[in-house]
Subunit: 419 residues, 2 copies
Amino acid sequence: MDIGFERREKTRTILVELSKKVKKIGEDDPRRIAHSFKVGLALTLVSVFYYVTPLFDGFGVSSMWAVLTVVVIMEYTVGGTLSKGLNRAIATLVGGALGVAAHQIAVLCGEKAEPILLGLFVFTLAAAATFSRFIPEIKARYDYGVTIFIMTFSLVTVSSYRVDELMQLALQRVSTIVVGVATCLCTSIFVFPVWAGEDLHKLVAADLEKLANFLEGLSTDYFAEKAEVENLESKSFLQVYISVLNSKPTEDSLMSLARWEPGHGRFWFRHPWKQYLRIGALSRQCASSMDALATYITTYPKLKPGTDPDLHLKIRKMCQEMSSESAKALKELSSSIRAMIVPSSASRLASTVVASVGKLEDVLSEDKAMSDVLHLATIASLLTQLVVRAREIAGSVEELARLAHFKRFDPIHEVRVKP
Amino acid sequence: MDIGFERREKTRTILVELSKKVKKIGEDDPRRIAHSFKVGLALTLVSVFYYVTPLFDGFGVSSMWAVLTVVVIMEYTVGGTLSKGLNRAIATLVGGALGVAAHQIAVLCGEKAEPILLGLFVFTLAAAATFSRFIPEIKARYDYGVTIFIMTFSLVTVSSYRVDELMQLALQRVSTIVVGVATCLCTSIFVFPVWAGEDLHKLVAADLEKLANFLEGLSTDYFAEKAEVENLESKSFLQVYISVLNSKPTEDSLMSLARWEPGHGRFWFRHPWKQYLRIGALSRQCASSMDALATYITTYPKLKPGTDPDLHLKIRKMCQEMSSESAKALKELSSSIRAMIVPSSASRLASTVVASVGKLEDVLSEDKAMSDVLHLATIASLLTQLVVRAREIAGSVEELARLAHFKRFDPIHEVRVKP
């Protein structure tokens, strides 16, 4: 009895956890719920082909291909659905036409040679098309199309050996696939559309804001005179840039989908999506500098006034100014992207920053003796951080050796092997 | 005539370029050529179902599903083919069984209610399954399976309205899909197999070696007494860590495929693949430190002996020692992973590194006045780099504003809108 109770309790906890998780996923982005219903809707729409007798009589079992197409090409974003839909439609046409041509050639060569020739065609074209998928440009835009091309060509070529009314079958299939693609596109574009381009636009702006938050936190929680530097690890600003560091794959995929999307809202058809990737790359570089700084100040958090409190205060104030001014500039850039308005004062702010960088360099080079060592010392401390990280790698590799049961190196054996 | 000649020349150049590119892709990794032939082979093997009459009589038009399966699940790595193959086989079984059950329920409710009930089932299950794809764990391992589940369930449920011998059709399809999966698996595993796990293993080792090359270059080309620091940008070691920074997506996908692979060669079934991701993450952190250092030394390359040449030489020598020792340690770790041998001297080397870091800190803190400013000055110079990068972002956003025709901000309008 007790065991049964325990088990039920356990199952209940798991179910409660799962439902919390599912709820959170839906709440984080309600468009996900809308997307799920859209897939259901599109599928129900194409299955009408089966339920309505006159329609079914027209298309027959080929109606299946409409259902299949909807399941496979319905993607979360409009760009995703468009790219898959166009790839599928065009690849089916090309593959089908080539398949029919291959069939005609094979028939000309006599009954015995036919299966051999058909096999040879399929082998050659499948191998060549598969190899073409390794070309980066094709991989990025037409990967799905090549798969569908191989599939259609093989299906048409191979079935041509058994099916008599090849052309009729091919036409039926192409038209049902077109119906499937059209259904998906309409549902995708007209029912709560999710635009990849818009997501990319928002992502880039949000990343700039994160960078600004780091710099703002730095100026108020670290460089400010009364800032407590004791519990630095608990400050949220020291973690805020991390998600920016890993944004490359998301940005790349959104950009490749955005290119397929038609103009919508404030975005024209030839919107400069590539420029977002450039801003993204620079943001990541900036985040990587933040990482270096954040690691340094969490390792050595103390800011002691030392023997020259005036110089100390001067540098500290300049650092505060630099970070708060840069934070303002980045915030403005972020909101100017969001509103699609030319950034008005960003260049002014940028020049302020340049001025304070210059001032700082002047202050640091006033004392000649210090300035010379300073440079090398900065390099040394950067190197130290690097080396400490390299040590962590060593620990991690040792852990791997333990987990994967690496062999121990046997020096006696080694000596024997050598001549 | 001239225009025709020019055009022909242009086409020739394009073709020559393309053939060079294709040749390079093949030469970079000859396994790609093997993979293309493997796809052709697997397709030719399953099309035998069409050519041999007794086989075709057994499976009928369902043979099509074997061809379709091969095209869709044949992936570059064994893990990829296995994961897609198992996903497809299991999802087809589950989706098919549920589809038959849905059909039975719908039939019980009478002829008029049947299409409505069938439509309702398809809508609900498709929406629920689509939503489950947003759960990260399902997305990572079973994304393809869920697609196939929706497809099979919809096809079986919807066709059940028109097809009479549902069970026979379902069995034929399942068996042809199993034949397709089996063909792919055999070709994948027994003909020049490409193991995702092995690729991950080699990638992690190669990345460690790249980090080592950076440190080695630093010690011989920058910290060495006679090193020329004039043409730093041309040195290759300053670029070597960049590919490590972007290795996360490749490592993640290889790891998720490696988990599906059976034991092979020196890798057992439960090889600790996750540990490779940990090493990879630490390598990227280390590369990010390298980025900070590389940016700093290319911005301020000069190493002047200054007013205290002894101290200068001391620090420089220590830096050289630190980087060359760390390079040796990383090289050894890399080759110990490659040979799968416990890293023998890595921990010894690591402790040498710790010692020299300590020595360096001692030297720098000897002069009390300098040591205090030094710390703040390091922070200031890191911040300066960061701010310079933030400025580059500003330039890039302005470029976007120009390319995308952002509106100019109109202050008069703004004043009017505000109450």
